[in-house]
């Protein structure tokens, strides 16, 4: 087991995950240090999403512990968590309040304009394109300002410029002592990436 520093953001020890009575992971350990980028890889059905959902606390593990050590996290799943009957701004505000953060209106608008959605502020999410919805979900990363990002297939539906934005955002997240855990089958190609291959384990 890796040593635990006081700066460790997330400590996972002895995690055991089962899906439909079939063991997916046994004795999984992971320490996430500030500045880390971890890519979870594996073929379809290997449990990338399931692992990420356990880390986010959406599913409960049979055994083992997941300790965020009082650090905040933001989870952007394949479902974006945006209600189609609410506007872009209302959704983003709800996501921040839901995570107990009092993000100011200015910060929310800054997050939106960073992703080119400023003019869509009062558009219903139901009227956005698939790519714009994904962008809106990613804007919540900025709005939440969390220590750890948990991203599930973040590249889906994104165009070139949004992918570049995401790479830049992850880089600056790492530079500010944050960390990102990304489940993806296409690598982001950023330096010093730690890869967890679920097929090999």
């Amino acid at each position: 087991m890796a040593q635990v520093n006081s700066s460790t953001l997330l400590q996972v020890s002895g995690l055991e995950i089962e899906v439909a009575e079939r063991p997916l992971l046994t004795n999984f350990n992971l320490n996430v240090e500030p500045g880390a980028l971890i890519e979870i890889k594996g073929p379809n059905g290997s449990g990338k999403t399931t692992l990420l959902r356990h880390l986010a606390g959406i599913r409960r593990a049979h055994k083992g512990s997941i300790d965020f050590r009082d650090h905040s996290f933001a989870y952007v799943g394949q479902k974006t968590g945006l209600n189609v009957s609410l506007t872009v701004y209302e959704n983003l505000r709800w996501l921040t309040r839901n995570a107990d953060r009092n993000t100011s209106e200015l910060e929310l608008i800054r997050a939106l304009s960073d992703l080119g959605l400023k003019s869509r502020r009062d558009t219903l999410v139901g009227a956005l394109s698939a790519g714009q919805v994904r962008r809106c979900g990613l804007a919540s990363l900025l709005a939440l300002d969390a220590n750890i990002w948990l991203l599930d297939e973040p590249l889906t539906s994104l165009d070139e410029s949004a992918i570049d934005w995401l790479k830049g955002a992850i880089t600056s997240q790492r530079a500010t002592n944050g960390a990102a855990i990304v489940a993806t089958h296409a690598t982001l190609g950023l330096p010093e990436t730690v890869t967890i291959d679920l097929n090999v384990s």
């Binding site: 959902r53 986010a56 606390g57 959406i58 599913r59 409960r60 989870y75 799943g77 394949q78 479902k79 974006t80 968590g81 945006l82 209600n83 189609v84 009957s85 609410l86 209302e90 709800w94 996501l95 309040r97 839901n98 995570a99 107990d100 009092n102 219903l124």
Partner: protein
């Protein structure tokens, strides 16, 4: 801001964008009561008022059941529920807020229509107040049980019949107590017991059912 207010505001806002979800049960209520008022002969309605009371209760029950059947379905589909389970420490308060908003959106408009229904069904005005006194706690219990049923069937597509099978047995005791209290009041018999009973059930439901609903919301994310 606390979880109750956040969930209440959100549910109200979404409900406001879908006015038909509130208007359809209201239309259903008016259609059923007016059809009954023109098909049942005047004399059988006025004798004892019992038919009118029963009709108003049953229609309220059905419209509340229709309205609460879709609770949390949207949140389940779009991943908001995931975010609530992942981030929210107090699902209990959040469920309270959401159910309160649903009650305002679907039950209150129908309770407000009751005088119209009572007038169409020739109900004695002395019975109106006891009708209100029982319909208000009754509609709260109906909404809570309806949301409980909806969360039980999350992820089961087209849950209509299953939902009715699940929640109708839970609705019946409240229905009987409510109608019983009104009819006893019409017959000038003591009705306090039934009245206290229905308020006791409402208090218990408000306190305990959100625990069950919150637990079911977590469980729905395990699959």
């Amino acid at each position: 801001m606390n979880a109750f207010v956040i969930a209440f505001n959100r549910t109200m806002r979404v409900g406001w964008r879908h006015p038909l979800d509130s208007l359809n049960p209201m239309a259903f209520f008016i259609i059923v009561t007016s059809l009954i008022s023109i098909t049942v002969e005047g004399e059988s309605l006025t004798t004892g008022n019992s038919l009118a009371v029963a009709v108003l209760w049953v229609v309220l029950l059905l419209s509340t059941m229709m309205a609460s059947g879709s609770a949390y379905a949207q949140d389940y589909e779009d991943g908001s529920l995931e975010q609530m389970v992942a981030q929210n420490q107090s699902l209990y308060a959040s469920v309270h807020g959401s159910v309160a908003a649903r009650w305002f959106l679907s039950a209150v408009p129908i309770v407000a229509l009751v005088p119209l229904g009572a007038w169409m069904l020739d109900l004695d005005t002395e019975v109106w107040w006891i009708l209100f006194m029982t319909l208000i706690p009754g509609s709260i219990v109906f909404t809570l049980f309806g949301v409980l049923g909806a969360t039980l069937t999350l992820g089961v597509g087209r849950n209509g019949v299953l939902l009715a099978l699940l929640v109708l047995p839970l609705y019946v005791p409240v229905l009987l107590l409510g109608v019983g209290a009104c009819q006893r009041s019409v017959n000038q018999e003591p009705f306090e017991f039934a009245l206290i009973g229905i308020y006791a059930i409402a208090m218990a439901a408000i306190t305990f059912l959100p625990f069950a609903i919150a637990a079911l919301l977590r469980v729905s994310q395990e699959y």
